[in-house]
Subunit: 279 residues, 2 copies
């Protein structure tokens, strides 16, 4: 593992950092293959726009990009996490002073080989009972307030074969998995939850939506409820690391990985494999 804090190794973070005190930051988890970060442009766009929404003075995108590329360069497979906090607090209390200097943490983690059966045969998924709070001002952001996801993971069922848990919002709407976005297929239409009240605007979600548009596959961002899941002909999960996982079982109901899921996997495959920047 390699860890850089504001570009330097072996540094600690100030105990006054607002990241520690309030989770006042954002992060990106970037899959790197063949020495290159995948979808780096999309990751940077989301990070910078997230900083704008939270009024965090973002580091220069070129600086972040350079660091990510440097860490990715000599690894065949790696996960690079970029975390930006608002920085050390100026004074006490919640209010941001507006003159904090952002803290930048860049970490390279090993990326062990994925279990290919998950992409091929699909995964088992369950619904989790915890409901996510709704706040349109935070919706879509990959921010560092993640206690809900931690609690969701702590609700995991005893069945270790379950690869992902689906989460609903306090209003009862499907949001996402704990670390993935979710899509269902009904007939020839693909549907995925809106992320205007809750959830993360995943980079792979964006890529898959783009590819569907280009391939002429009809898709909708909409409100989805439990009953919609029950009527799904196909279901799949996306995230930047896994690409697409077909769902083969939801709460013990078998679902067949179907033609639209397979077609999207085929479309995505070269974007996930190659060393070129696919964004």
């Amino acid at each position: 593992m390699t860890v850089l804090v504001n570009g330097a190794r072996g540094q600690g973070v100030s105990p006054l950092d607002r990241g520690i005190h309030f989770g006042d930051g954002l992060f990106e988890t970037i899959a790197c293959r063949g020495g290159r970060p995948r979808f780096l442009t999309f990751h940077l766009e989301r990070l910078i726009s997230g900083c704008e929404r939270l009024q965090i003075r973002a580091p220069e995108p070129e600086l972040i990009a350079g660091e990510v590329c440097e860490l990715a360069r000599d690894a065949d497979r790696a996960i690079v996490k970029v975390l930006v906090t608002r920085g050390a607090a100026v004074g006490r209390g919640y209010a941001a002073a507006g003159k904090e200097t952002a803290t930048r943490i860049t970490i390279r983690y090993p990326w062990p080989d994925e279990d290919v059966s998950k992409s091929h045969d699909g995964v088992k998924v369950c619904t989790l009972s915890m409901r996510l709070g709704e706040n349109p001002l935070l919706a879509g952001l990959k921010h560092c307030n993640r206690l809900e996801q931690i609690l969701a993971r702590a609700q995991w069922p005893a069945d270790i074969d379950v690869s992902e848990g689906l989460l609903f919002s306090s209003s009862g709407n499907l949001v996402s998995g704990t670390l993935s976005n979710v899509f269902i297929v009904r007939g020839s239409i693909v549907q995925t939850p809106r992320i205007d009240l809750c959830g993360v605007a995943g980079v792979m979600r964006r890529v898959v939506i783009r590819e569907m548009h280009q391939a002429g596959i009809r898709m909708q961002e909409c409100v989805l409820r439990t009953e919609d899941l029950q009527e799904a002909d196909e279901m799949f999960l996306t995230n930047a690391r896994i690409g697409i996982w077909p769902v083969r079982e939801l709460n013990s109901r078998a679902i067949l990985p179907g033609p639209i899921t397979r077609r999207l996997q085929e479309i995505l495959a070269p974007l996930l494999e190659g060393p070129r920047d696919a964004a």
Copy 2:
């Protein structure tokens, strides 16, 4: 300012700390007078029970108490903040491994004299438009996922005389101020929002509720809506630092600091002033 990380000065926090990555921690803000922390027992109880709810392996309460008392000892007035995170991550991702070692940050801040007119004449309060997400698993905890409070502070009105903003939940129920709990008086009954879906179980809230019980003042924890605020005869705010602030104006409507608020202030005064541990 004095800052201790796991008891030592001049230390940084590991960039792998889950506090930074996820806001995976809890904190207490303890008002210290005459060299002694106020209501230390209540603060420690909340911190330890919060750790239990989040399954964070809490530091020994005696260790925390000793550090707080040490920092408080030579200050006539000080605010001591204690922050406990789950500690440095074991691996990547949201799931806690269960074997992390908690990180303990203890900070002494100066506590400038309060504006006594706020306690005496009361404060101006407005309602804020941002709604807080609801999650019963997080409700009551003074946890480190505080982006909502940061965003609420960023919505502050231009009128700098406004001392606090009231927040409602996504369901439209009154929750609290951005840094205080709120009480209203209707006739002879005191009401305060339940904190089962949202909000923080404030230490001063607990003290005031205890004192009301002992004084025979009727009180209810209940669901309160905008219309309930409009019907309030009296209104006051509590937090560990300020004690009680009467509200003298809500969204430009004048409210008189009334007899129940005044009586509670009188009851509380010796507990706030003295150096003895009032909890």
